[in-house]
Each structure stands twice: as structure tokens, then as C-alpha cells.
Amino acid sequence: MSLSPINKIAVFGDGLAGLFAVAKLAEILPDGIQLIFVESQETRQTDILFGTVTPPSTYDFLLGLGIQEPKVLTSTNTSFSLGTHYKKWGPDKRNWIQSFHRPLPVYNGVAFHHYLMRLEQVSPGNSELESYIMSVQAARRGVFAHPPEAKNIPLADVAYGYHFLPEQWCQIVSAKISDSNIERIKSDITSVARHGDKIDSVTLSNGQIIAADFFVNALGAMSKLTHPDAESLGATKVMRADNMFTAYEKIEGVCRVLTGTESGWTSTTPLQDGLDHLSITDLSAEAENSAGKNGQRSIEFSPCRLKKPWLGNCLVLGHGAAIIEPLTTAPILLLQRDIERLVELIPVSNDMRVESREYNRRFNDDYDHADLFTGAFFAAKSDSQSAYWNSPTVDCSNLKLLNKITQFESRGINVQYDYEPFSAEDWTMLHFGMGRSTERYDPLANSISEDLLNDRLSQMRTAIEIMARKMPPHHIYMAGLKKYLKDKHG
């Protein structure tokens, strides 16, 4: 019944964003819609800004592309990730592990951390959260095992993401796409014919003209496909990412280690065959230009995003739509959500006003909410002279963020907005990690005796510790798993 149904979708860009989009569309598009993939080669260099750590949802996301975990582990140097260990973070030089974890227990209707806050008031300094989080304890020891189905052991509470290199994932996704009958064209864009917001066709350097009903532009910030008048937010800071890789014999650790520096941060991510080093520097905060070490790749970038990534019949995806500092899993998490949002809104006709408005609404909600989370890494009084710490790329005076922090500091409550990308557990761990203490706690946390509470907590700590001691080091687990996969599947 729709007046003119769409027949053809063209995706541009051979970086992770474009490949993810094509692989996902190939899985879900019905037969009536043709998919063209134009692999213009100008995008992969910014892919390091997707970071090196994915959230736990990536497991399902990859399955949705038809890519299973064994394939990822055996074809790339991907390793398991329990989170990020932040060190010397911020003016107070905070040190904590921000891990992936299922919801913490709720006793008598009261969230777990209120009990810790109760104990904190009795004996200050005695109520750290990390002893009660299985994934943190495993990360501290560098051990890993898959969480089992059974719900009654501490290991079941662990959630995990991956350490990965975008360039290696590009290869497996590209190989996956080759299995399907997608038309692939390797060529760059020469010119774009548009009237108003609508793109009619794109001329390629090989002479081909691509006409489609809907264009996905995953070509990065400098793309010719992006509407020349597209408005963007941010882009006030210039930063530099320096990246290099050093090989090792066996996996060291099971989380990324990220250390604050005077003008940014530096991180190491343990992959199967070596460490990925990524540093982010705020160029306005840097005393002297220290770039250009041997073997380093460096790119400059400005964190920013488009106000309306979907304009007319063209959606901008990936770094052309938004660039965020890979301090958390946000870059890859939001890319996944962008793609999932796209497939929920595959246009049904050439009138895409409803789709673009809704996509842009959710896009802005997601990026705003992720900014709240990033902002919470910076919302602390700083006497540093460094621009990195004093004027972060996200707005820390945002009312929604202030509300979150005020509520937590005032009474340990995690204020939730609709469909936030980061969970209440993420927030609780971050607040504890940033050393935010709470004035009050839920009075209902007083309904059990202190002795009973101490008993319970001690049992929980012990169970977690025993489990952590039984778990194998990451490299041994990985070797065993890969041997098993090889024996089973050859």
C-alpha cells in the first residue's frame, strides 16, 4: 500500500561502520530490496577511535551479523575483556576497575550499595565495592572463564566484552559479507547529484553512477556525501590519538589499563598476541608536541556530532556522524545502537520524514546519555592547569548529569532516563570509582542487624574469592578454548 516502496540501498565506506551496516542489512533485508556496497577507501584510519574495548552486548550484536564468537576468537587477535582499569584518573588520581557485571543483588527491596553505605557510616573507609563484584576480582587476578548458565554461583554474574582491533574486525566482517550476494564496488566518489536534502545519484571515479532510494554514508568526517549545510555540535577541541602495537608471548591481563596523564590518557589493551597502546592527548593542554614516536600511527580529531545524522534520503553513520573519545565503551556501543536503530527504521517509502525524525531523536538521546556517563568521569573539582581536565569535551554542567550526581551523592540513588546506554551497575561502579560518597542511604537498609549484614557480606566476599582463585589465567583459558574449538571444528 505504500506509494513508492524502496528498492535499492547503497552503503558507502569500507571502515568498521560501513562493514557492520552492510553485514547487518544483508542479514535482515527482505529479497525485494537490493543492497550495494561501495568500498571507498578513505575511512579506516579513524577506526582507532572506536577504541579497543567492546561492551557485553557485542556478543549478540555480532551474532546478529551472522558472526559467532569462535570465529572471532580464531580468526582475529580478539581477547576477552572484563572492563577497564582506570589509574591515576583525574585530579584525585583515582584507581578502580570499571567492569562488566550483571545487576548486583537486591536485599529486601534495597539496592546492594546502600548496605555498603550503611557500613561506611559506621566505619568509614571500610566499604569498598570491588570485593563484591566477581568480574572486578577476576580482572584483578587476570583470570577468566565463561559465565555459566547456572545462576547460583558468583561466576554467573560476570559479563564480558572483547578487546579488539577494528582493522582485524573489518577483515572478518568483510569476509562474512563475501558469503552473501552483495554487489561490491571498489571506487571513490567523484561527485554527488542532489536537489535539496535528497541525493539523486553518486558518480564514482570508475565512471559508474549509483542511483539508490536510500544512502548510508559511512565515509567518515570528510565525506562528499554529507550534506554541505549539515549542522554539528562540539568540534571545539583538537585532540590527537597515538596508536601502536607491541607483541608478546602470552596474554597479560583481562582488562584494558587506562592511565590519566597531564593532558589526556594512555591505555594498553591485552590482545591475544600483543598489547595495543592508545594515547589521547588534548592538544591545547600539551606543553610541547611529543608526537611521532617510531612505529606510531597518529591522527588528530575533534569530538563532535551531527545534529541530524539522517537528512533526506541519506544517513550518516560512524565517524562522519559522531566522534567521541574512546574513554569508555561508548564509541562501539553507540555504533551498535546506531545500526540497530537503522534496521528498525529501514525506510518503507521515499518519504523518510518519520524515519529520519525518529532516528535523529534517538541518536541524540543516546549520545546525550553517553555524554552524561563520560561527563561523570570529569565532574570533580580540579585544580589542574590542564585544559583536558578543566574543560572536558562533554558538558558537565548539564542538568541531567547534575541530577544524577546530586541524587547519588545525596542518597545513593541512580536516576534513570529512558533507554540509557549505560546501566545502573555501570553508574554505581563509576560513582564508587570516582570516590563519590553519599550523605544518606535508604533507611530500609537498616532493617537487618549489623551482625547479619556483616555475615552476609563476608560470605559473598569469600564465595567470590574462592571462585576467582579457581579460575584460570586469561591466556591459559584462551589457549584451552582455542584448542577445543580447533579439535571440534578443525
Partner: protein, 500 residues
Amino acid sequence: MTITRICILGGGTSGWMTAAGLSNKFNDLGVSIALVESDNIGTVGVGEATLPHIRFFNKTLGIDEREFMRETRATFKLGIEFCDWGKIGDSYIHPFGDYGEPIDGIDFHHFWLRLLQNGHKARLDDFSYPILAAESGKFQLPGPNNLEIGSNFGYAYQFDSGLFAKLLRRYSETHGVTRTEGKAVQTIQNPESGLIEAIVLEDGTRIEADLFIDCSGFRGVLIEQALNTGYEDWSEWLPCNRAVAVQCESAGPSLPYTRATARDAGWQWRIPLQHRTGNGYVYWNKYISDDEATHQLMSTLEGPALTEPKQLYFKTGKRRKLWNKNVVSIGLSGGFLEPLESTSIHLIQEGITALIELFPDTDFQESDAREYNRRMDLNFDRVRDFLLLHYVATQRDDTEMWRYFRQMTLPESLQEKMDAWSSRGYLLRYEQGVFLPPSWVAVMTGQNLLPNSYDPRANQISNKVLLDKTMAIKRDSLAALRQTPDHGDFLANYIGPAHR
């Protein structure tokens, strides 16, 4: 400092629900709760019909379902039947449950739309077990396995709210709440902070407290008369401003659903209880006189009237701050939305839950009230949009009132939802708020607002697979229905013989 004294002004449904909810949580924590009510002030007895969330409230209090149903003369409720809304002669049921089940992660209604748009005659209702059960007057409790069609639904109650208040009063009094009979004639405010320190009753009794809960109804004795908080008037969107209510004898078997019938200048409710039927006509007095409304109500009763018709006056909207200084308004004092979707008791419950979570100290930090108000505003706003949907998703233009709605410029939040639905069956979702996507599907399809298209992903499966799957769901629903007893029989069996 910790709050040790709470005063609830007003009994009725909201007062006693609040007393019960708070005493359950704070009785052991050294907090005294006083409730002041006057037998001379009538209660409105809002919303005799409820939403499934009420079960969680009762469960938290540890109230036994059978006992509760016996005492409040309750019946089970599977949803609401809406008559004459989309156009005269139409009717549909808004159930507490999903339609069908998602296929490959895609909502079922897209597949139904595919069938429809390809010429198949398929009724969406046939894929909803609670609708089928309601239509045939049947009921049973959902089983433990919610993957089974006959167990995957929610239910609520229709009850006598006066008797519910009585039950909760008994509960509250055994949990330490003290009830004081009397009418507040004066409030004492701290001259500096403006906080209310005490209320004085007619006989001179002075009741002091740290925190006051205003459950005094429309008048808002504390939140408005004392604190002048202000009211956000929503008459522009929901202009009905009066109601007349009457109880009558029931005719026929007891039905597991509420009925809301659209009328010339408003709508009429019918709520079946065990021993009688509650009726009311909610109307806009601009287009119908009180006498005429009463006449229309009385002439459409299913049985002889048991009471004199009772007139109610209201203005839809909400208090500008539901929590202001040391006063939290719960119930009608906080706001009023017509009971078209049985939200009155639900909003009371949300208010109690949020108050418990954000329970203040004697210094009344602004952040507590701000967060409380943010949450409650969101609840009210989203219910408002959902109620308004009923009036605007319609072809009716047969009277002045319906023509008024046809010409209305909708709130953007609602217009966006309707546009996204109409173009492709897409639902704008939210997490914080009472009505989930299936409710929106129920009302929009029930009122003939059908999308022009559907999610293209629903074309991925073949026709045969689609027909097989949909047939299977329908078959399973019908099979579950055959196992379901009549509502009246089930109820009688469940609650046992009356104890009085």
C-alpha cells in the same frame, strides 16, 4: 535529621493506600504516622477499576489475594472494552498483555499488518488470549510459565474502593498508624522556612509532624490552600470537567472487564463488582447539562439504581509541584486525569513508591522534591497523551465535542507517536511510564488508526511460514481458551463462600 512524624491529611483511597504503604516500610524504624480524616467529608472513591500494578502493591503489603477479593467484593479484570470510540458501533478491548509473540525479534503486529495489507482477513484480537477470554466472559489466573499463551498476560481488579480503604485502614492501624477523627481548620507554617509545622482540627487538637501528605482530594488543603502551589490546567487537551456516578444492580454474569462507552459529550463507565455495578458519565458541561447527563446515565443502566446519582466536579491537570516544601500531594490533590484507563489508583501507587524511595530528612533537600516531581510529571504527561489518543484517533465528528477534538493541535509528543505509527506501525517507546507498546497498539488499531505500511523486516519470512506461525498462535490461544472456566465460576471457586 531523620523524620519521625508523618501526618496524612485525608482518608479515602489515597490516604489509606499511603498510610498502608508507608507503615509497611517505616513501622519498624521509629516513625509515627498519623492519619486525620473526617467522617463528614465524603470521599470520591476514585477508580474502582485498576491496573495490574495494584497486585504488586498488595503483594508488598502481604495482603492475601483471596481475602482481599472477598472483602472488597472484587472481580478480575482482563482489560477495558471501549465502545463507540473509533466510530459509532465499533468496540475493542484493550488487554493487559501482548498480541501474539515476536517473530525473529520483530513485534507481532508487523506480521499482522502484512497479512492485512495482503488481503487476509485477520483480527488482531484473535492473537490475544486475554481478549478472547474477556470476550467470552472467562478467566483463570496466569500459570507460572509465561511462555505459554494462556499464562502470558496481566490482570487487575475491579473492586469497591470504599471497602479497599477500609481494609487498608485495618492494615495500617495494626501497623501503628493512628487515626484521628476531625476536620483541619488551620495550618501552622514556619514563618521563615514556610514548612508546615502543624494542622489544627475543629476541636482545637493540634497535630504536629515533620512531613505532611496531602490526601485531601481536589481541594488540596495543604498543597494548595496553604502553600499556593498552583495547578497546571490541561482542560485544553482533556476538557471533560464533570461526572455523575451511580451504582446499580448487576444483570447477567459477572464480566472480567471494564467498559468505557463514548458518548455525545464525554464517555460512560461500567464496572462490574461481585454485588453491584458501578456506573458513571464523565462529560464536558459546555455541551451537556448536568440534568441531561444524569438522565442519559440513568436511562442506560443495566439494572435498578441502588444509590442516588452523585455529582463530581473537576479540572484535569496536575499540581505544579506535587511535592512542595514538606508537603507531598498524593491522589486528587496532586492532579486529576479522567479514569478512562483506570490510572487514578495507579498514580497514587506511583506517588507512594517514589516517596518511599526519595524519603526526605527534616532538612528537606530540594533535590529530593525535584526528583520526585520530575518522575511524577513524566508519569502524568505520558498518561495524558495516552488518554488524549482515545479522543483523537477517531472518525467521529457527530457532535460539538468530537468536532472540538478533530480541530485540536496535538501535543508534539503525541503527534510524533501517531505519525510514526500511521506511516509504518512503528512505536515510540519509553521505559518510564505506565502504558507499554501493546497498549498503544490496542487503542490505535481498535480505533481504526491503521498504518500504511509495516517493518520491511517482516517480509523476510515466506508466506507459508507466516501463515503457519500465525495459525499456530491462534490455535494455541483457542486451546488455552477452551481450558478456561467462566469468570463467575472461577471467582466463586477461588474466593470460596462469603464469610459474612
